[in-house]
């Protein structure tokens, strides 16, 4: 690979890359992000390559390319293929489809109907990726490039304009001017706290102490959130370019990617990206001949959610246990090894090239008064179109869930949407029309967080949700300070008791008292925000708490100790399905004998409820009421009309 030593050399190199690429040549882009890989994308790639070889097309120049790309976000329908230049999008592709794709679509230019997106409820298929409602209603400034780039090939990034922002920053702006640009754009951090990035950069910029450090926080620990994973796996160059620009702006010559070790593909791809950038001269000494030096290392996490908190991350980088430090002093003053440090989230860094290239006003033109730009959310849970969605700030929750997300899955009733992970809150139906932005979400008791958006339906128990998050946090708290360690311990105890039917009057009030102390006196934001799920579920679903406590009833039929399964003898047709499938062998009966569940053996797994044929609908879930005693054996014989031939 050539070393590029100036801005003009880069432009010449870029032109050269583009001249060698025929935009009309078919290119089959296959998503090979972790999600699609888990669904078999690697086999799809292999099958396509084999088919191309079989048809003798491999060596025929100008026929077709196969590109392994990053995640475009429509994870529910993976493995995904987009065929350029027509932008034909095929979903849920299997290796067996390879032959047809090559013969029909590539060679005969015919579209394969059954692989297209089908609009629900009507007889309509959509061919072009950008017209699929899931994508159409998004604004994919950051993630849109993923399907065009092979994350292991820096040239692909250059082909879509990559590194033009770094050139602009290094050669057309002073470091202070870059800081001003970012301030002017009003970009707020995407990691969860939403602190204005430009202001944070300015603190570090103005600190005379040296050396200075810049860090990418890629310890995406919120369960259910995987935006950063998709960016790092799919377009690591954009994050790296943003980091390099930031280093220049702040005056740092040493940077780190702190990546959680649960993301091995992200670690691999960013390590490779750094290597390629170094070879090209986009990293290292005298970048692009500008005189600016910047080196970057990758540092893996070791399995601790708390290391997403910036001071814990610093401790971990220093080879210590991830215990947070009190602030002030903030990392911009005393960070890594006591020196000025600027830590930003992956998505924040990915926004930087966009701001430099399109200008601060561009970002400021998107979004609401207090929250500018786009945000990538991981829309998951009980929603039809599960995946990553990038939308402008200010879009309503309703539009995200229904327009982009395709609504609640399984035809169930919407109950709540949880945003902000374990630090966030549950938002009920009454607030679905709020405009998503940092301040609006805070007003309703939630937070933006890193972007996790979990849709919950009528089958979700909100007491169980609060308990789930506290259980998560009790294992992830560093344990250093009393309010977090002990506050969470006691809140979890109370919630566990409530979910097991041992709740008592006064529990809700005690939870509220504990929540207050934990929020106010904890050392860091893990403890400080730990009470949020409890507080928001009490705020909006107090009736569920009271049902658990007073009536020993779980309205959503989730809390095992409070539910029972019962086969209605009037409806049972003795089909034997539940009897055979019961993992605890708790059902007695026979071909003409009504089935009865032995409550002592029943493990409440719910299998019988799920497998009972809908036309019988004989299995009932009960909660807060006694189970009817089993009918006497004699009454269990089912008289059925036998079919006479």
């Amino acid at each position: 690979m050539p070393r590029i030593n100036s801005a003009s050399e880069l432009e010449a190199f870029r032109k050269d890359i583009l001249s060698k690429r025929d935009p009309k040549k078919p290119c089959i882009s296959v998503c090979t992000g972790t999600g699609c890989l888990a669904l078999g994308a690697a086999k799809v790639v292999a099958a396509l390559k084999e088919e191309i070889n079989k048809q003798g097309l491999e060596n025929k120049v100008g026929v077709v390319d196969v590109k392994e790309t990053g995640c475009p976000g429509f994870c529910e329908r993976g493995p995904i293929i987009v065929i350029h230049p027509e932008e034909i999008c095929y979903l849920q592709v299997q290796p067996g489809d390879a032959e047809e794709i090559v013969s029909q679509t590539i060679l005969a230019k015919k579209v394969i109907d059954r692989l297209l997106y089908a609009v629900p409820g009507v007889d309509e298929k959509i061919t072009r990726e950008s017209e699929i409602p899931f994508y159409k209603n998004q604004m994919r400034n950051l993630i849109g490039n993923n399907i065009k780039i092979d994350p292991k090939k820096l040239d692909d990034y250059l082909a879509v304009g990559g590194y033009s922002a770094l050139v602009k920053a290094l050669f057309q702006n002073t470091p202070e001017q870059v800081v001003e640009l970012v301030k002017h754009s009003n970009l707020r951090g995407r990691g969860g706290a939403g602190f204005p990035a430009g202001r944070k950069w300015e603190f570090a910029r103005n600190n005379p102490d040296e050396p200075k450090y810049v860090i990418v926080n890629a310890d995406e620990g919120d369960p259910g959130a995987f935006m950063d994973r998709a960016l790092l796996e799919g377009n690591p160059f954009s994050v790296l370019e943003g980091l390099t620009i930031g280093a220049y702006a702040i005056g740092s010559h040493e940077g780190y990617f702190y990546v959680r070790q649960e993301y091995p593909l992200a670690v691999e791809n960013i390590t490779l990206a750094i290597k390629q950038a170094e070879e090209y001269g986009f990293l290292g000494k005298n970048i692009l001949g500008s005189g600016f030096d910047f080196h970057v290392k990758v540092h893996r996490g070791a399995g601790a959610f708390v290391c997403g908190e910036e001071t814990s991350l610093l401790a971990s980088l220093e080879g210590k246990a991830g215990e947070p430090r009190s602030r002030p002093p903030y990392p911009a003053v005393k960070g890594l090894r006591g020196k000025p440090t600027n830590i930003n989230n992956v998505e924040t860094w990915a926004n930087i090239p966009l701001i430099i290239n399109k200008g601060a006003d561009y970002l400021a033109s998107i979004g609401t008064g207090g929250s500018k730009g786009t945000k990538i959310f991981s829309l998951v849970g009980k929603v039809n179109n599960t995946g990553l969605v990038e939308v402008p700030m200010g879009i309503t929750l309703r539009d995200i869930i229904y327009k982009v997300g395709g609504g609640v899955s399984g035809g169930k009733k919407f109950k709540a949407v949880q945003t902000g992970g374990p630090s966030g809150g549950c938002i009920p139906e009454e607030h679905l029309d709020i405009k998503v932005d940092f301040d609006e979400l805070a007003k309703v008791g939630a937070i933006m967080g890193s972007g996790g958006m979990i849709v919950m339906d009528e089958d979700t128990c909100m007491v169980d949700v609060a308990r789930y998050f506290l259980n998560f946090l009790s294992g992830e708290s560093c344990g250093k300070c009393t309010p977090c360690r002990e506050g969470i311990r006691q809140m979890l105890k109370i919630l566990t008791n409530i979910s097991e039917g041992k709740g008592k009057e006064g529990d809700i009030e005690l939870l509220e008292d504990l929540a207050e102390a934990t929020r106010d006196a904890s050392l860091c934001a893990l403890g400080g925000s730990a009470p949020n799920p409890v507080r928001s579920t009490i705020r909006y679903f107090r009736d569920e708490y009271e049902a658990h406590i007073r009536d020993k009833r779980c309205p959503a039929f989730v809390c095992k100790n409070l539910i029972s399964y019962h086969i209605d003898p009037a409806k049972c047709q003795a089909c034997m399905i539940c009897l055979r499938k019961c993992p605890a062998e708790a059902i007695t009966g026979g071909k003409k004998q009504i089935h009865v569940i032995d409550q002592e053996k029943c493990t409440k797994c719910g299998t019988c409820f799920e497998v009972c044929p809908p036309r019988f609908h004989a299995v009932k879930r009960l909660s807060g009421e006694p189970v009817p005693p089993p009918i006497p054996e004699e009454a269990r014989i089912l008289a059925r009309e036998s079919k006479q031939t």
Partner: protein, 204 residues
């Protein structure tokens, strides 16, 4: 080092740059309760008993006085409804572990903390960290350390080091507010490094 003027409980206090609110308060004779703080050790900020209300740049929050650095025009309140309520809760959470610890009794009385508010927990260590920090920072022997995290956080002696160093030292023993440390030591000694018979059989 420049001088900084701040307000504690309505009084003007002069402090040096780099001081903590706790140090500044003490220099002015204002009392703030502490548990995990020790003059020979770096401030730790773990027990949170020393929380005070600070008003900095228009924002009012609770902060641990032992680690919060003084700033010009900082307004501090060492007692208030919020501060007292918080200290009471912290004490009750700790009393669930060590209801009879002498170090907690006086504070519990002052703040009206009820030792029975929470069910008794199995461990009577309050994780103040005095023992670990003393051994690391003062004795530099590292014979005892923290293990695990969250609700499972504990202190343990490192048997190989403790077997060599602790018998003739035990300087950390008087620091422990609950005597859990002594119990942990004797248990480790009994299980992991039995005393040779030449050493005295009973206490020191």
């Amino acid at each position: 080092m420049s001088e900084i003027l701040l307000q504690i409980d309505g009084r003007e206090v002069k402090a040096d740059e780099g001081m903590t609110v706790l140090e500044a308060a003490r220099s002015a004779g204002i009392h703030i309760p502490t548990l995990c703080h020790h003059d020979k050790l770096a401030p730790y900020g773990a027990c949170r008993i020393c929380v005070v209300e600070v008003n900095a740049r228009g924002r009012k929050t609770l902060a641990a006085a032992c680690v919060y650095p003084v700033e010009p025009n900082l307004a501090v309140r060492t007692r208030s409804e919020k501060v007292d309520k918080t200290r009471k809760m912290i004490l009750e959470l700790l009393l669930a572990h060590a209801p009879d610890a002498p170090a907690l009794q006086e504070l519990a009385l002052e703040y009206g903390a009820d030792k029975h508010r929470f069910e008794k927990e199995s461990s009577f260590c309050v994780l103040c960290g005095l023992c670990v920090r003393y051994c690391t920072e003062v004795k530099k022997k590292n014979a005892i350390g923290f293990f695990d995290r969250g609700a499972r956080r504990e202190i343990h002696f490192i048997p190989e080091i403790a077997a060599k160093e602790c018998w003739n030292c035990k300087e950390c023993f008087p620091l422990c507010p609950t005597s859990y440390l002594q119990a942990a030591y004797h248990l480790t000694e009994a299980l992991a490094f039995p005393r040779p018979s030449s050493k005295p059989a009973s206490g020191e």
